[in-house]
Symmetry: C2
Subunit: 152 residues, 2 copies
DNA sequence: TCCGAGTTCTTGAAGGTTCAATAAATACTA
DNA sequence: TAGTATTTATTGAACCTTCAAGAACTCGGA
């Protein structure tokens, strides 16, 4: 295969720059709103939200890290902070001594309730107000395929 | 407007989770390759790449920060590191005493050349190998519109 | 059963980013 | 043109994430 085949052509570069722009800027936009409304960053918010939707509002740390798209180490540090603020609790898993279970507290639910309306409003404003129904589905379908590659 | 209108429906949530998954995971995938191949993180790579494509391989710090999607403070810290490694140089702007100009050195060009093949290969692998030509353009067009909102 | 390999989680240190304060220059305005 | 506001960039501290090491446990084969 020729060397040139490895580089991006103009159309690919244009698409890439737009995508990576979203990737680079979206997190700080989300962090800003959450910090202001509920003194959380996006990752902390996602951890609380994931627990809220889980069975018994409880998850294993490693599963939680995966669905939140973060490393276990990152989650462990964040969990210590969240536990210190009384937003979650951790306890040993009865069925597997290696695992730790994290669960949402009432305080965590309240904090989530404080953060959520502004967060959803911002997501709508930045993403879904811009797209019609078909475009929204298309973006989701493409993202899902890319995510599968990135996770692999 | 009813309260419910503020929340995301199932299809929106599915799309959002896929998009944010890409946003959360893509940077660490890119960082990994760049760290291994050239001891750079993605932001450092972007700074060097932006300079390479600029007139005279030189840009004002604040313009550089904007095109790299980072804060000026972040860029300033990174520029100190890159300058320390001899990859860029900074000097006062002759026409506006407030501004600093950053320029790529030979060392910076070399480092970029070390990093680029693997980086492009990974981007192709993660993004463009998954999409046909039409999907690639569609993703770019949608991303561009979202980016415009996020930057506003 | 025992031992080695693998899994799960935490921790401290190193490295990177954000935030707030500051300095220095330019632009505006009365 | 003097004074004020704005723009541009840097800095150090606080905060967060990554990295590497280690502890505790489970699994599987000899």
């Amino acid at each position: 295969m020729s060397e040139a085949a490895h580089w991006l052509d103009d159309a690919e570069m244009e698409s890439w720059l737009a995508l990576i722009g979203v990737v680079m800027r979206l997190p700080s936009a989300l962090d800003g709103q959450l910090r202001g409304d509920a003194d959380l960053n996006y990752f902390e918010y996602v951890v609380l939200a994931a627990l809220e939707h889980a069975e018994e509002q409880t998850m294993r740390m490693s599963d939680l890290a995966f669905v939140c798209h973060g490393s276990l180490s990152r989650l462990s540090h964040v969990a210590r902070r969240l536990e210190g603020e009384g937003l979650i609790e951790r306890y040993a898993c009865p069925s597997d001594g290696r695992s730790t279970l994290a669960t949402l507290t009432d305080g965590g639910r309240e904090r989530l309730a404080t953060a959520a309306p502004g967060h959803v409003k911002l997501v709508r404003q930045l993403i879904f107000d811009e797209l019609d129904r078909e475009e929204m589905r298309e973006l989701g379908a493409l993202s899902k395929r890319l995510l599968a590659r990135i996770q692999a």
